[in-house]
């Protein structure tokens, strides 16, 4: 269950904001603060994946078993018992690896489209129009209907099955077998959890996670090809930024100043700053792009104050207390800058 999975997001040495996980897993609009900590904790790729999560319940459960410490400010940290359980969990449960795609394409939406597309094409192959369709969001259904109409029947059947076979052939036989078991269509049902050839220690949550992760892997690979599956993936493109933030960011990228954007859009300068900050976080802006947002002199001041490598411990009050909101933005951007530098260093190393 997600309670065990939550443990994999925590550690012994650092306190983390519990609500960040709940907010990101549930999806919906994110504050800049949630996005920032989501980036730090590397949980942004899981946006909206576990929307029914009741984080309070999860925390209570973990606390009851003595696996976490939970303070009055909502900060949580693993206990040593928690660390042992975490290690056991990681050995016996599924840990996803491919979810990054979910930040630019809606993974759950694609899963639904993919499964219904597969069912419909299978029924097409048998000339059957009367079947119980897999129920997905209505808008998605309509999108799929439109997508199906764009392709001739024969192309759909032949190419779709060919693409699936090509994909499955790249997997280990065990994974291919499992992947195929989640597909259903004409007179073929998908497998019940109880009949899957999976490790005994897996729960239904592991199975859900495995499916999402494999579909994410399929998406990642398919985007580099020219396939039917890719054209279906493109229907699920999304921006985690709000429409309003997107407009501000577009103007910023056209070299408008923050002040100009605020005036033209008749919104507060601080709102524009938040939009840009949100974009820098969610779109993982480069070091150069972030540096452009912090005046040079402020960068020097910030560099003097925050020498500790671990930005989680930085106290913004030392720099920004009593100043106008713009200074908090500089502080946050400076934190982001350090994260971006780390990321770029890692990329160079890789």
């Amino acid at each position: 269950m997600i309670t065990g999975y939550m443990l994999t997001k925590l550690n012994l040495t650092e306190s983390r904001r519990a609500k960040v996980f709940g907010n990101i897993w549930q999806g919906g609009a994110q504050t800049v603060s949630t996005s920032f900590w989501g980036l730090v904790y590397d949980v942004l790729p899981e946006t909206g994946l576990f929307e029914n999560t009741n984080i309070e319940k999860v925390l209570k459960e973990l606390q009851r078993h003595g696996l976490i410490k939970h303070d009055a400010h909502g900060l949580i940290q693993l206990t040593s018992k928690g660390a042992t359980t975490q290690a056991q969990y990681q050995e016996t449960h599924y840990i996803p690896k491919h979810l990054a795609i979910n930040q630019n394409f809606d993974l759950k939406l694609f899963r639904d489209l993919f499964l219904l597309a597969n069912q419909t094409i299978s029924e097409l192959a048998y000339h059957n129009a009367r079947f119980y369709p897999y129920q997905i969001d209505l808008q998605a259904q309509w999108q799929l209907k439109h997508w199906l109409k764009m392709h001739p029947r024969e192309v759909l059947i032949t190419q779709w099955s060919q693409e699936l076979q090509t994909w499955l052939a790249t997997l280990s036989n065990e994974d291919a077998q499992l992947f195929a078991q989640m597909l259903f269509g004409h007179d073929v049902s998908n497998a019940l959890f109880s009949e899957l050839p999976i490790p005994d220690t897996w729960t239904e949550f592991d199975w859900q996670l495995w499916q999402l992760d494999q579909i994410a892997a399929l998406m990642t690979v398919s985007l580099t090809t020219d396939t039917l599956i890719k054209s279906l993936i493109l229907l699920t493109r999304r921006s985690l930024l709000s429409n309003s933030a997107n407009i501000s960011v577009a103007m910023w990228q056209e070299n408008h100043s923050l002040k100009q954007i605020a005036q033209q859009r008749q919104i507060k300068p601080n709102t524009v700053r938040e939009h840009i900050l949100q974009a820098a976080i969610l779109q993982r802006w480069s070091v150069a792009a972030i540096e452009e947002l912090i005046p040079d002199n402020e960068q020097s001041v910030l560099a003097d104050i925050y020498r500790d490598a671990d930005l989680i411990n930085w106290d913004f009050k030392i720099y920004a207390a009593g100043k106008d909101p713009r200074y908090f933005t500089y502080f946050r951007l400076y934190q982001l800058l350090q994260l971006a530098k780390k990321r770029e260093d890692m990329d160079v190393n890789v």
Binding site: A125, F131, Y132, Q135, I157, Q165, L168, A191, S194
Partner: protein, 481 residues
């Protein structure tokens, strides 16, 4: 055959490939479509009630609005219409994202059938959007819920009458499988009709279902008896429980200790697994479903051979609904209720939990800050307060309601206790005429050993499960290659 009958039968043949209607279907459709009357139809489960509104909707054109109580069932109902070739169908309920709801309301003209939850129907924006459409038929499915659930569990049921008026009084069809004369009167009262509705009432009796109750000494023995029954009963079956947790435990146990393939089915099951369970059950690849009674199932499987209640239902109406899933193919079937004396305590607790007690009501009217109200109860109290009821009136109302529910539970327990004329007992409760001779038989209790062979339950042809075949073969099978 009249011209109308011919037309009706032509529809039946064309869309469903049937030559004859099931009992009650043609009668309801004739009253509704030829005589243009509003109809309250009480038809036993398995009569094909959905066919009635599907066909009536096709006949009348325009929009058909179906008020449906079970949110979880709604999407399955849409799927069922899709499977009948009706694509312009949609469900509208509180489980949907507001964006989806908005999208549907913006596109209402593109649908012929809208399934809607009472809570959603009574929202002003929804009412207004629907009122702009040409609604030719308003259907209330499981209409007994108006009387059964409205006053406590879901007050929005009491507002359906308002929607009916706002839609300029379209043709009205109320459908249920069980409703006593009193319930029927109560249901109709909500609509303020100029003349009484035409009532088409068929007996709740399902002669092909053997009714059996077994009083068992304790939980351990009940569990053992269940295992025995699951091993011995042929064909597909459903076990009803009142707890999700226990349903999960029972599934594991049944799977390990019997040769049957078992799955649990309740509100916590993920969409993709729900689909697998429904499809496998339909295709006879799955023998047993362990379900919570609050959770409906949209598929229409005609050959469910047996239903076992591991926990009793809260009232006989619900019980009949649930056992009505058995033997829809009109072949012999059996409904068994396993009971220990602690069970009614459990069900009683469930009943009470839905109804605000005196103290809760008091704190509601005192507006006590931070009082831990249950969400469901708070909604109820807010509803009645908005209707102008004061604390005294609301306290009285809920006391009465609790009494009614307890009486209903007593009737349920009485059904188990009674050792003579069990089938007629059910009919008496629903105010129906008593059966005589063989017709009154086909029931038993723990007093006699259950002779399964004598029931002549048909065996089901098990479909080969291709679950474990090689993935290449599975792909070939999927795409007919």
């Amino acid at each position: 055959m009249s011209t109308f009958d011919n037309r009706l039968h032509a529809y039946l043949k064309r869309y469903y490939n049937f030559n004859t209607f099931r009992p009650g279907q043609a009668e309801v459709l004739t009253a509704l479509l030829e005589r243009r009357e509003d109809v309250l139809a009480v038809l036993p489960t398995g009569t094909g009630k959905s066919l009635i509104y599907e066909l009536a909707g096709r006949y009348l054109g325009g929009l058909t609005v179906i008020v449906s109580p079970l949110l979880s069932l709604m999407q399955d109902q849409v799927a069922r219409l899709n499977a009948h070739g009706i694509r312009r169908t949609v469900a509208l309920n509180s489980m949907q994202h507001p964006r989806t709801k908005f999208f549907i309301l913006q596109n209402l003209a593109k649908f012929d059938y809208v399934f809607i939850a009472p809570e959603t129907l009574t929202q002003n924006s929804v009412l207004e959007a629907l009122a702009q459409q040409k609604i030719n038929l308003l259907v209330v499915d499981e209409a007994h819920s108006i009387a059964q659930w409205g006053p406590d569990f879901r007050p929005d049921y009491l507002e359906i009458g308002r929607a009916y008026q706002l839609f300029a009084q379209p043709r009205l069809l109320l459908l249920t499988a069980t409703a006593s004369a009193q319930v029927r009167t109560e249901i109709q009262r909500q609509f303020k009709l100029p003349k009484p509705m035409t009532q088409v009432v068929y007996s709740v009796n399902r002669p092909n279902i053997h009714l059996r109750t077994e009083k068992i000494a304790n939980e351990q023995e009940k569990h053992a008896r269940l295992l025995e029954l699951v091993r011995e009963l042929p064909g597909a079956g459903i076990i009803y429980l009142s707890s999700k947790k226990q349903a999960n435990q029972l599934r594991t146990d049944l799977q390990q200790k019997t040769a049957r393939k078992v799955a649990t089915y309740h509100g916590d099951i993920e969409n993709e697994q729900r689909f697998a369970i429904q499809q496998q059950f339909m295709h006879n690849q799955l023998d047993v479903i362990v379900a919570t009674s609050a959770f409906g199932m949209g598929i229409d499987k005609a050959d469910v051979r047996w239903v076992i209640h591991y926990h009793l239902a809260g009232d006989l109406e619900s019980y009949l609904q649930e056992i009505g899933r058995a033997g829809r193919d009109q072949q012999p079937a059996i409904a068994i209720l396993l009971y220990t004396e602690t069970d009614d305590y459990l069900v009683n607790n469930l009943l009470i939990s839905g109804i605000p007690d005196d103290l809760t009501i008091k704190h509601f009217y005192l507006q006590t800050p931070h009082y831990p109200f249950d969400r469901q109860q708070l909604r109820l109290l807010q509803y009645y307060a908005s209707q102008g009821l004061d604390e005294k009136a609301v306290t009285e109302l809920f006391r009465r309601r609790l009494l009614v529910k307890r009486l209903a539970l007593q009737q349920m327990v009485q059904y188990i206790e009674i050792t003579t004329d069990k089938r007629n007992y059910l009919l008496r409760v629903f105010g129906e005429e008593q059966l005589v001779g063989v017709a009154a038989q086909n029931w038993s209790t723990q007093a006699e050993t259950l002779d399964i062979a004598s029931l002549a339950l048909p065996t089901t042809k098990v479909m080969p499960n291709i679950g474990n075949i090689d993935w290449q073969k599975r792909i070939k099978k999927l795409f007919n290659q």
